[in-house]
Symmetry: C2
Subunit: 189 residues, 2 copies
């Protein structure tokens, strides 16, 4: 049953392509080259590009939420949880990859609606995790916020997303960590 193997290889490779070249700029032909399977055979696994795109986001979302859950479960103080969260971004950028939904967000007007919704959901999940983590930190008196947890969460997400874009354009991943650290430190207390 090679099904799963090939399918996940396609997903993995497509993810890399989207995260480096963008969704609009990657094609079934690119995938075909890299996986060593004919273009038409890709349609056997993913009948449409939209379907592939959605499967891509779903799998990414799945992995990411798992990591977030694991991180939440850890017994660590809030700030170090946040910094670990930030390292997800810094790390992938150091590997030469944009965060998936950052890469997609730029082309969002070009994306099919089903994909737009997933991108939106992605950002909502992140905001909610950050907000919950911040609330917890406040409740445990590890943190004092200058602003609402919601606004602070959006600030952190924005900084991280933006630092990724800037780092990407400057081809200098080292931008991310200090920017995010400063942002975390600035939340209050």
């Amino acid at each position: 049953m090679m099904h799963t193997d090939t399918r996940s290889a396609l997903l993995a490779e497509a993810e890399i392509l989207v995260r480096t070249k963008g969704y609009a700029a990657f094609s079934y032909a690119d995938l075909s080259d890299r996986i060593g399977i004919r273009k038409a055979s890709i349609h056997h696994h993913f009948p449409t590009k939209e379907g592939l795109g959605n499967a891509l986001i779903d799998s990414y979302l799945d992995r990411f939420t798992n990591e977030l859950d694991a991180l939440s479960a850890k017994r660590a103080d809030t700030k170090s949880k946040l910094l670990t969260y930030g390292d997800f971004f810094a790390g992938s950028l150091r590997d030469g990859l944009m965060p998936l939904c950052g890469a997609l967000a730029a082309d969002v007007a070009y994306l099919p609606v089903s994909m737009q919704q997933r991108v939106k959901k992605f950002f909502e999940i992140h905001t909610e995790w950050l907000e919950a983590t911040l609330r917890e930190g406040v409740a445990q008196d590890q943190l004092h916020l200058n602003s609402s947890p919601r606004k602070s969460a959006l600030l952190l997400l924005s900084t991280l997303q933006g630092a990724s874009v800037v780092a990407w354009a400057l081809k200098d991943p080292s931008v991310i960590r200090p920017a995010f650290k400063q942002s975390v430190d600035s939340l209050g207390k």
Copy 2:
């Protein structure tokens, strides 16, 4: 001499397309539809798409640096200068437009090298303006920084760029202002 008219109409329309759909996802055919000129005639003004893309960035950069210069010249305190700077982004997003180089940065791996260099330069110009403005604020004792001017500048740019991406994906431009304000307030003092 209609030359200038059509040419700048093309530039303006192309800019809108790039800032909404992305560089990879817009075509000469799109432009042809919107300007009411045949596809081939666009090649008369801009022989290649790369040339058009570069002219686009150059004109945007030109306008932006003019606005930055004007803003620098104003007699206003540093923080309000920074907030005005932030409103450039918030404003264009409210008009339904991504910041140009944010839109381009995502597809940067797909862009021709000449365009990549311009995107990079764009970010450098912004960082330099922010850094200079921050230094001035410190020198005039209007501001006290927790971090180096350079790092603080990168933080501000990142926040703004990222807030634009998040706002774009969530289709909610109101994200930007509070995030940036909080970021400015957090710089120190």
